[in-house]
């Protein structure tokens, strides 16, 4: 008890100004927590098959909306009988990522390569079907968290190698390659993603010959991936610039070809340095996936907003509850990623000191 008093004296009430600030903060905390708790729990309705229970309690969250539509929020209109395929994809992805982040395991490199190559292929076969006796599921039936994750993972898997190539291109000695890389990177970084998505949904069909048609999800995937690649390229370029010149010269002096010296000497170091930046780009990409809703793709946010129009659920609290739920899901993913990136940063900075 004595320690608590001593601690709060030093940290909270050291000066008159500090005391005032502490009291204001305490008041802010109280108001926020009180508001959140009474909205989310005390005044909220938890059970019910339609809006009726939410209409009775107009000042609190309408959780039955979330529980009733939960399946939709995760899978969209994916046929119920086939949802096990989505589950396999989810479990495999979580397992792979978990093992990768867990730290020391023997086959980490091989696993990472598998996750970047075999996993996307397997995911595509499982989700889309039409092969190996799996029934074909059109992409316009995909929805919810599934689509959000598909866009995010595709963006990550495509933007990493493409970003590396662009970063190398921007530092290339061949002027044409350099100019093209710079133009590509600056173009995508200069325009808002939403205009890119508009372009993908109204202009891409114009660019292609008659009869050749992309589905809407694929168009968004292309737009998001190219957009993310440009940002990834700049992060990796930062990593490349941080590698001392001696490393490049060392590669040359032992007679390695350009690609070999990049693959064996430069990139392994540059990528490790850029991990925090890469994860930050992933977080940005993950948050940006919500924009596909504006061009009519039913990602998690899109499908939640779509269900606000359900006549069984038109109550003032339903949209607020829906957005809070969506926010929670996105927040958990983004917070986990940023936490992971911080821990990696700490691990490497400790290594640097020990050297």
């Amino acid at each position: 008890m004595q320690q608590i008093i001593k601690w709060s004296r030093e940290n909270l009430f050291a000066t008159r100004m500090n005391t005032l600030l502490s009291l204001v903060s305490l008041w802010l905390i109280y108001v926020t927590i009180e508001g959140v708790v009474s909205w989310a729990f005390i005044n909220a309705s938890f059970l019910g098959a339609d809006k009726s229970s939410c209409m009775v309690r107009p000042h609190g969250a309408c959780w039955p909306f979330v529980t009733a539509k939960f399946n939709q929020f995760i899978y969209g209109n994916y046929p119920a009988a086939e949802q096990w395929r989505v589950n396999i994809v989810f479990v495999l992805g979580a397992l792979g990522l978990g093992l990768l982040m867990a730290g020391r395991i023997n086959f980490k490199k091989q696993l990472a390569v598998l996750m970047l190559t075999a996993y996307p292929v397997l995911t595509f076969i499982l989700l889309s079907g039409g092969l190996l006796g799996l029934s074909y599921v059109e992409t316009n039936q995909w929805g919810g968290l599934l689509v959000t994750l598909v866009i995010a993972v595709t963006g990550i898997v495509v933007s990493l190698p493409l970003g590396i190539l662009l970063a190398l291109g921007r530092r290339s000695e061949l002027p044409i390659i350099r100019m093209m890389s710079i133009a590509f990177i600056e173009f995508w970084r200069g325009v808002p993603l939403i205009t890119v998505l508009f372009m993908a949904s109204v202009m891409l069909p114009l660019f292609l010959p008659e009869g050749m048609n992309f589905d809407a999800l694929l168009r968004c995937l292309i737009g998001v991936s190219l957009f993310a690649s440009a940002y990834m390229a700049e992060v990796i370029r930062g990593g490349l610039q941080a590698i001392p010149k001696g490393q490049y010269e060392a590669g040359k002096s032992i007679g390695l070809s350009y690609w070999k010296s990049m693959r064996l000497i430069i990139l392994p170091q540059a990528l490790v340095i850029s991990i925090p930046g890469i994860v930050n780009t992933f977080i940005g990409l993950f948050k940006d996936t919500t924009l596909v809703m504006i061009v009519g793709i039913f990602d998690l946010l899109g499908i939640i907003s779509f269900h606000f129009t359900d006549p069984n659920w038109t109550s003032p609290q339903v949209p607020i509850t829906g957005f809070v739920f969506a926010g929670l899901v996105f927040w958990v993913f983004c917070f986990a990623m940023s936490h992971y990136s911080k821990s990696v940063e700490r691990r490497f900075s400790v290594k640097g000191v020990n050297k």
């Binding site: 940290n11 909270l12 050291a14 500090n18 600030l21 502490s22 903060s25 305490l26 802010l28 905390i29 044409i176 093209m180 600056e186 173009f187 970084r189 200069g190 325009v191 808002p192 939403i194 205009t195 508009f198 372009m199 109204v202 202009m203 069909p205 114009l206 660019f207 292609l208 010959p209 008659e210 977080i283 948050k287 940006d288 996936t289 919500t290 924009l291 809703m293 504006i294 946010l301 907003s305 003032p316 609290q317 949209p319 607020i320 957005f323 809070v324 969506a326 926010g327 996105f330 927040w331 983004c334 917070f335 940023s338």
Partner: protein, 366 residues
């Protein structure tokens, strides 16, 4: 490889021309002179359904500009406050700032915009039951209403008088600085500023009198008229953009202050400077060198992010021009080209200015 690239471009252009020809869409920018045939609910310049698409583009651009400028202002204020709070000795204050940053940075901006929007639309009362403050500020689900003024004849001259005042202050400040550099004495020049102000204001009032009258919002019919009004779309977008960008600015400010070496704090303390003076005169100026480049790119991000307004139909550049106008005219290529060019121009201009600034700062350092 170059040949393949050129071939690809040629193939795309060829397809586009063929497709456009098939859809009977006239190419070119001629459509910009046509009437739009629709009105929009927030315009800073005269616009109605008989105006041209050119005018519409300008209206959208101005709406983007106003929300961006105000957003940048608020985001900077909140961001600096939170960033400095994060470094506070007070444990509670710094933890609160930390929580703020972690919450707002990790939530997609689109969700934040939609959340504030439904909050305004669904929770706020109808105009007849508005929240009022002192009978001049009103908030309801149609928007936010503030008192404003309207100019009477002679009001236009005020700008000139303000300019005159600014020039006078500039002259006095320069003179005071020269004096200080020459003799080391600081004159009480604040007194001179006030003197100039009084002369300007007095001259103006005696010539034209008070050329303004208060324009207060008042309930007429179903909604408020008069005063300065903001639509819920605008308020939601502004709040979301400011809070979201502020969380990034807070981190930038924190990193900037931490980059100033500890010796500088100690030196300022050793000189006996109070901590507020030490912060304003010693730490912040040095931190600014680290803060400004990423801060500028956040400003640019905010401007680009204002395009998310398309989701709540705030009539800015993307939603009104690349959205409504595109659907009406079908001129996809031209409209997307114009929209992207505007953002691209802004972004290239910013990075050019930043590069110039960086070059200057590094020179000074050496």
């Amino acid at each position: 490889m170059v040949a393949a690239f050129i071939g690809l471009i040629w193939w795309l252009v060829d397809n586009t021309v063929a497709n456009l020809a098939r859809q009977n869409v006239a190419t070119g920018f001629g459509f910009l002179d046509n009437n739009t045939g629709f009105d929009i609910n927030q315009k800073l310049i005269a616009y109605d359904e008989t105006s041209s698409y050119q005018r519409l583009l300008l209206v959208g651009l101005l709406n983007t500009a106003i929300v961006s400028v105000l957003g940048i202002l608020f985001a900077t204020l909140i961001g600096f406050m939170v960033g400095l709070a994060r470094l506070s000795d007070n444990w509670l204050v710094s933890k609160l700032a930390f929580i703020y940053v972690e919450i707002f940075r990790n939530l997609p901006l689109l969700i934040q915009i939609l959340f504030w929007y439904v909050l305004l639309i669904e929770i706020l009362p109808h105009p007849k039951k508005s929240f009022g403050l002192w009978e001049v500020f009103f908030l309801n689900n149609r928007g936010l209403y503030l008192p404003w003024f309207s100019t009477l004849p002679g009001g236009g001259y005020l700008l000139w008088v303000i300019g005159l005042f600014g020039a006078g202050c500039f002259y006095v400040a320069r003179k005071a600085r020269n004096m200080r550099e020459l003799t080391g004495q600081t004159k009480a020049y604040v007194r001179n500023y006030i003197l100039i102000g009084v002369i300007c204001l007095g001259g103006y009032l005696s010539l034209w009198g008070v050329p303004f009258e208060a324009n207060l919002p008042a309930l007429k019919g179903f909604n408020f008229r008069g005063g300065l009004s903001f639509t819920p779309e605008f308020v939601a977008l502004l709040v979301a953009l400011s809070l979201y960008t502020a969380s990034f600015i807070a981190e930038i400010v924190r990193a900037g202050v931490l980059s100033v070496s500890k010796g500088q704090f100690e030196a300022a303390k050793a000189l006996g400077l109070p901590s507020s003076v030490a912060m304003n005169k010693v730490i912040i100026p040095q931190a600014m060198r680290v803060i400004i480049p990423p801060l500028t790119s956040q400003y640019l991000n905010l401007t680009k992010n204002s395009s998310l307004a398309a989701a709540i139909a705030y009539p800015e550049l993307v939603s009104v021009f690349a959205g409504t106008a595109l659907n009406q005219t079908g001129q996809a290529v031209e409209i997307i080209f114009i929209t992207m060019s505007i953002y691209l121009f802004l972004s290239l201009l910013t990075s050019f200015l930043m590069n110039t600034y960086n070059a200057r700062v590094t020179l000074v350092e050496k």
